[in-house]
Structures are given as structure tokens and as C-alpha cells.
Amino acid sequence: MKIAVCVSHVPDTAAKINIGSDSKNIDQNGVTFVVNPYDEYAIEEALKTKEKFGGETVAISLGGDANKETLRKALAMGIDNAVLLKDSGFRDSLSVAKALAEEIKTQGAELVFFGKQSVDYDSSIVGQLTAELLGYNCISVVISFSLDGNKITCEREIEGGKEIVETALPALITAQKGLNEPRYASLKGIMAAKKKEIIEKQPVAAQNYIEIISMKKTESKQAGKIVGTDSSAVPELVRLLREEAKVI
């Protein structure tokens, strides 16, 4: 069985983000990029599935040369092959999904893992769009995955609990934290990854339906104000709520 895992290269969540001078991009100066954290769960699940049932794994990433670092990490963790769909321009979620779906089709992968969202644009939709384009069954926000023959059983997180769902291959799964504990890249894995080739391809062109007009930082919250500690403060509180906060 061929297993694909789609990975994105995102700013480190600890990095302080500033908006670039064109106000349509972030300022990448001094920002370190990492494997999208949710994609690490996807990689781990792909590896575990391969270890259990055999087959071949391929990591696919869409982006510029910098994405090779993330692909290299996937290879170091144990993924067999890597494909970079080289395009550093802006693509909206659907356009990304079209490019990924095309490559997954070329690879002939029946089982595909995604992170549930990528922590840069956070649209949380690329996995589902890709599944739709491929005509694959899709289960999102998965915290437990098992495969038995053609049958897939997953637990997925829902508000206040979890649900257990079943589907069949071919399928696309989006991984949530808790699905597994991603392995480290062992030093031997890193050295082996060095010898593997990252295949570069031109992704299919696709129209963007969404355009970024501008990016803005959220304004930092003002510190709270304690008006008093007993009922005598109520009139002042009411006044402030009415006159300053203008909520009553």
C-alpha cells in the first residue's frame, strides 16, 4: 500500500511574528521555520501504519526551497520518499488542495495523512478539500486510527467528547494532537535522509479564489481594572460600563 503524508513548513509557534512591509506577508526576518506540529502526528501515523502493514511512504510539500528542510525532517524520521511541489507564490486553500490531489493521484496513494491544520494560515480545510477532489473518504481531527483490511476505525474529537467512526480505503485522515507521540529523527535516520533525493516537481496551476488584501496584528489587550472589592463600587462600575466600555 502506498501511504502519502502532506506536510507544510511553518513559522515556529514560539516565534514572534511581524507583518512584512507589503502588509500581505509576514516578515520572515529572523523567524525560524519548522515542520507544522500537526503534520508530525501525520508523519508518525504514516510510519506506524507502514511498520504494521508494509508498503511505501511518501511526503509531499508545496512551497519554496525552504520546504526541503521539512521534507528532510520527514525523511529523517523514516519516510521513504519526498516530493517538493515547487511554487513559492501565494495559493489559497483550494489551489493548494488541487496541487496536492494531483500529486497524490500520480503517487497512487490510497491512504493519506494530513495535519488537522497548518499553523500558519490556519484555514483547517486543505485536507478535506483534497479528499473531495480525490473522491476519498475523509475523517478529520482524528485522535486514534486503526486499519483492518479495508476498514478504517477512527476516534475523532468533538465538542465535549469524542465519536467513533468507520470508513473504508481510499481515505484521507487529518491528525489531531494526541493521535500518537511523534518519534525523534535518530542520528542514523538523519544520515540516511542525507542520501535520499527530494524530487522536485512543478505543481499543477490552479486559480486562486481568495486574495489576501492585508494582514494586521491583533491589538494587545488593555490591562483589566479593579474598581473596588465590595458593593460600594457598583455605581462606579455601572458608570464605567456605560460611559467607557459603552456596553450597557
Binding site: 514560539a14 514572534k16 526576518n29 529572523g30 528542510e69 528532510r72 525532517k73 529523517a76 525523534y184 529523527a185 535518530s186 542520528l187 542514523k188 538523519i190 544520515m191 535522509a193 542525507k194
Partner: protein, 597 residues
């Protein structure tokens, strides 16, 4: 591996005193390859995910915990990076091992167990073992199946290692040595499977043996109750007629001291990498805390007093890191040069480590003192919380202190620095006399009052070149005046070493910043320039003070006057507004919320 080309014109050991270095051939951490960075990242992840959540359990010496973590490190490859591929290792070069040591340094007690196992516990076999010994032990040491300890110190022989009392006597059939004695402060003593042990054959031939811990007559003492690094196993070991097969002699009979001292060179150098790595992590915790802690209605990182501390820590770490990679690559380069000429890796590594023994000793002193500074300020920045075990500062403070004591105390290393330099000068390995005479001559001439030089860090460049002259003139005068008696004037030796350390580290920072100017834009480069300037101006003042202490303790009359005048001339540096620079550095750290250089 980063670069396979052979570097030419490497600076020899100690030559930094009399020669300039080309910034373009100096290795800086930014030169690490993508693979080297991935390996370092993997080590950092291991420390963060496997070690940090378990620090309390490790410090309580939960049974088998450190042993299982060493085995896990072995599985992932961290114990075998320096072991050649033919013995089951990864055969990574010296710089890769440096990068990994930086990360492992932040793992507190585990780092000590790790360093003892991979360094002094494995390297003697790697560098001095026979092919049979290497085949027998290295694959298992690299995988973590066997754990190792290095047993040199005894109750009555610490710094004076050669006065060891443990004896080794050949049995009548000539097949075994019988070892008797006691070893003290042995890291990994509580669980090591093999022990690299030193003993005297026939009462005077200092010799190294590999002892199997299952041998009859071998006993472990109780765990020491230590001030810090509580999670690392430290015990006494007792050898009561332990029978060791003759094939377990490591190296040659009577040549154990070569092993003892050469292994320590590499250990000293590694210690600097580890302490600097640890300092980065501690400094980051202090920066984060200073940003979170509110007093007087604002984060304490807004205050100048705290900014000063944040900047000062970063400067020292930046400098220490620069100096460490500089030496790492000198050793790396020397190994490759010798291998290209046909040396085996083992021979090459030993010669290279000996070549830079002076630098290794200086780094050991510097790195351990940088960490001590950083942990002290960590407690201070954390205030009352710094004194609480709930925050990382207290553990860092306790764990740091040992670094100034083991791998040769900082005092011994300071003495060794000058001692080695003098011996090399006498043997003609390095020409100090010529340059020292030239400086003396320059002193008699009228000083040049040329216009100030232009270019990036031009004043700092000048200051470094002058500081070299200051060291030469003072060390030269002390040797001339005191001759053989200099070795009894330890205070003067310490002063000279401290001047050398300031000089070497200043130059390392300068070289890194100049090299960085080739690929960083002005805005990115600025903090590096600021750190280099603040550090060098401080160093020049320190060199001046150490110099004065040295001069006044041996010179009188006209000589005293002349030397003081020379010192003043060679440590002159136009004062600059370091407060402004420190604030700018601190602001970068505050924004990044961690050590970010």
C-alpha cells in the same frame, strides 16, 4: 559532514598570541551544515522531551532511570557520534560533536552522565585501544549496551593525579594483573559496566586498564550526597585484588599518563561546549521570566538594571560560543590535515587535541565561569522565585558549580595554560621570543598617533592586536626576570592566563562578527557588533588590571615604570556608551523572549 576540504595555514596551538586569524577561515556556528543542525536539533528535542520532564526524578536517582535514558540516547545514536563507522558508530566530525555537546549541556545531571560515558569513558578505548579492544567495546559503548566510567582520582590524589596509590601486580603465570586501591568521585560509578582505571605497575609505571565491573573484588561505594548534579551517579570504587587480564591493558605499561592527560584535553574543550549550551537555556529562562514578571505595573525586563544583566549574559554566551567553535574547527582541521597525510583517525585526533591543549584549558576555565555567571544572575533575576526549587534557576545554580572543579580545577587549568606555552616556547614549537623582543623595541620608540582606522570594528581590531603586545611584553618580562622561579609565582601565572583568555575570547568574537558581516544585513548584524564592542572594551580594562597585578608583583623602579607605561599604551581604548549598546542588545532578547544569537 560539513566541509571535506583541508584547511591550510591553520593557526598552531598558542599562536593566536603572535599571529592574526583570517575571519573567512574561522569556523562560526552559522557555518554548521543543514545536517549538522538537524543532528543538533534532534539532540535538543531529546533533551526537551526525555530529560526535562524527568529532571526531578533524575535528581532523586530513581532506580535505573539514568541508565535507561543513556540506553535511549544510544538507540538514537547520540552515544556513537564520535565512534568511527567500522566500529558501529556514526563517524561524525569534531564540529558535529561540538554542536551535539552544546545541546546535551542543557540536560543537567544527565549531561554529566552522558559526557562521562561518551568522553572520558569511551575515548580512551577509541584513541588508545587495540583493534581487538575496539571491536569488543566500542559497538556496545556506542549503542548504550555498556556504560563506562573513568577512574583516575583517588582519595589522596586529585589535581596531583600521578601520585595515585592504586597498584597493579603481574601474576606469576603472566596472564593477569592484580589491582588494589581505591578510586574517588567516579562519575557513573554506581552503574558502569566497564571502568577505565589507572594504576601503577611495579610501584611507578602509571598504566591504564579496562576493568569489567563483574570482576571479583570490585565493589562500589555509596552514592555521594552532592551539592548539585544530584542525579549523576558519583561513588567511590574499591579494588580488592581485582584480577584483570593482561589483554585489558590500554595503551602501554608506564604510559598511562598520556591517556589521562590527552583525554582531559578533549574533555576540557567539551566542557566548554556543554556549559555554554547550558548557559543558553538558563539565560532564555531568565529572559522569559523577566518578560512575565510584573512589578510597579510593568514587566521587570523594562528596567535598566535587568536589561544590563540580560545583555551581559548574552554577550558572554555569544563570546563563549564563538571561541568554542573556533577551537572545535582548529582541532577538526588538524585531524583532517593529518589524515590527508596518511595518519589514522586515532593518531590524528590525539595529535590535534594536544596541539590545542592551551586553547582547551582556557576554554574550560572560560566556559565554566560564563555558566557560573549566568546561573548566578538567573537566581537574581528570578528574585525570591530564584531561590525556590519550583523554578529552574535553583537547579541551574547548584549544578553549575562543579564545572569549575572537575576536568582539572580552573586553577590547575590556568597554571597549565602558561606552563604549556612556556614549554612550547623552549622547545621551539612556537616563537614567542622574536615577537616579544619586537614589542620591547616598539616600547622604546615613540608611539604612533595616527588617525583612527576606518571600517567595521576597526578600533576593536587595533585593540586586539595591541592586547597581544601587552601579553607578550608582560609575560616576556616575567620570564626574563623570574626564570625558573616563575612556576612558584602562581599569582603572576594566573594573571597572565586571564589576560590570554580575555584576548583569545575577544578575538573570537571579533572574527565571528566580521565573518557574519559577509552574509547578514545591517539590521541583523547590529547586535553582533554591539556585543563585540561591549565585550572588547571590558576585556581591555580587565587585561589592564590583570597586567598591573602581574607587573607590580615582579618589577621595580625603571622597569616597573616602563612596563606600566607599555601596558597603558597597549590597552588603550576610547570609551564608548556601553549602556546604550547593552540596552539595544537586551531589547533584542526581550523581543525574542529567549537567547537569540
Amino acid at each position: 559532514m560539513a566541509k571535506e576540504e583541508i584547511k591550510v595555514d591553520l593557526l598552531k596551538g598558542g599562536e593566536f598570541l603572535i599571529k592574526e586569524s583570517d575571519p573567512q577561515i574561522v569556523f562560526i556556528p552559522e557555518d554548521l551544515s543543514e545536517d549538522q543542525r538537524m543532528m543538533a536539533d534532534s539532540a535538543r528535542e531529546f533533551v526537551e522531551k526525555e530529560i526535562w520532564p524527568k529532571l526531578n526524578a533524575i535528581d532523586k536517582q530513581e532506580p535505573n532511570l539514568t541508565v535507561s535514558l543513556l540506553e535511549k540516547a544510544g538507540e538514537l545514536g547520540f552515544l556513537s557520534t564520535a565512534i568511527p563507522e567500522e566500529y558501529g558508530g556514526l563517524g561524525e566530525d569534531f564540529n558535529t560533536n561540538t554542536a551535539i555537546a552544546f545541546e546535551m549541556g542543557a540536560s543537567h545531571s544527565f549531561g554529566v552522565s552522558f559526557a562521562a560515558h561518551t568522553g572520558i569513558g569511551t575515548l580512551p578505548i577509541l584513541l588508545y585501544g587495540t583493534d581487538e579492544q575496539k571491536k569488543k567495546y566500542l559497538p556496545k559503548l556506542g549503542s548504550g549496551q555498556l556504560k563506562s566510567a573513568y577512574c583516575l582520582t583517588e582519595p589522596t590524589s586529585g589535581s596531583d593525579a600521578l601520585s595515585a596509590k592504586t597498584t597493579a601486580k603481574l601474576t606469576e603465570d603472566g596472564k593477569y594483573y592484580i589491582l588494589n586501591g581505591q578510586k574517588m568521585w567516579i562519575t557513573n560509578g554506581g552503574f558502569a559496566d566497564i571502568l577505565i582505571t589507572f594504576a601503577k605497575v611495579d610501584g611507578d609505571k602509571f598504566t591504564c586498564f579496562i576493568i569489567d565491573a563483574n570482576s571479583e573484588g570490585f565493589n562500589r561505594g555509596q552514592e555521594e550526597n552532592k551539592m548539585g548534579i544530584k542525579g549523576s551517579s558519583t561513588t567511590a570504587l574499591f579494588l580488592d585484588s581485582v584480577k584483570v587480564p593482561v589483554e585489558n591493558i590500554l595503551g602501554e605499561i608506564g604510559k598511562g599518563h598520556y591517556i589521562a592527560f590527552n583525554i582531559l584535553n578533549i574533555g576540557r574543550y567539551k566542557l566548554c561546549a556543554m556549559t555554554t549550551g547550558s548557559a543558553k537555556k538558563v539565560a532564555s529562562a531568565s529572559i522569559t521570566y523577566a518578560n512575565e514578571r510584573q512589578q510597579f505595573g510593568q514587566p521587570i525586563s523594562n528596567f535598566g538594571a535587568i536589561k544590563h544583566k540580560l545583555a551581559e549574559q548574552a554577550i558572554k554566551i555569544f563570546v563563549s560560543e564563538s571561541a568554542t567553535y573556533r577551537v572545535s574547527d582548529l582541532i577538526n582541521g588538524k585531524i583532517k590535515e593529518l589524515q590527508a597525510k596518511g595518519s589514522r583517525y586515532e593518531e590524528a585526533a590525539l595529535v590535534a587535541a594536544e596541539e590545542y591543549a592551551i586553547e582547551c584549558a582556557m576554554l574550560k576555565v572560560f566556559g565554566s565561569e560564563v555558566l557560573d555567571y549566568v546561573v548566578d544572575e538567573a537566581v537574581q533575576i528570578h528574585g525570591g522565585y530564584g531561590y525556590s526549587e519550583e523554578y529552574p534557576a535553583a537547579r541551574a545554580y547548584r549544578d553549575s558549580r562543579i564545572n569549575r572543579i572537575f576536568e582539572g580545577t580552573n586553577e590547575i587549568n590556568r597554571l597549565l595554560t602558561v606552563d604549556m606555552l612556556m614549554k612550547r616556547s623552549m622547545k621551539g614549537r612556537i616563537d614567542l621570543i622574536g615577537p616579544a623582543m619586537a614589542v620591547q623595541k616598539e616600547l622604546m620608540s615613540i608611539p604612533e598617533f595616527g588617525s583612527s582606522a576606518d571600517g567595521l570594528l576597526a578600533a576593536e581590531y587595533k585593540a586586539i592586536q595591541n592586547a597581544k603586545k601587552a601579553v607578550l611584553v608582560i609575560a616576556g618580562a616575567a620570564v626574563q626576570k623570574l626564570m625558573q622561579k616563575l612556576k612558584d609565582e602562581q599569582e603572576i601565572i594566573m594573571n597572565v592566563t586571564d589576560m590570554m583568555i580575555e584576548l583569545f575570547t575577544s578575538e573570537s568574537a571579533y572574527l565571528r562578527t566580521i565573518k557574519l558581516s559577509g552574509f547578514k544585513n545591517t539590521q541583523e548584524l547590529q547586535p553582533y557588533i554591539d556585543m563585540t564592542q561591549v565585550y572588547i572594551i571590558n576585556s581591555m580594562e580587565k587585561i589592564n588590571i590583570y597586567g598591573k597585578h602581574a607587573i607590580t608583583s615582579f618589577a621595580e623602579g625603571d622597569e616597573l615604570k616602563m612596563l606600566l607605561m607599555g601596558l597603558k599604551r597597549f590597552t588603550k581604548y576610547e570609551p564608548i556608551n556601553t549602556t546604550k549598546l547593552r540596552r539595544a542588545i537586551a531589547d533584542k532578547l526581550i523581543e525574542a523572549n529567549k537567547y537569540c544569537f
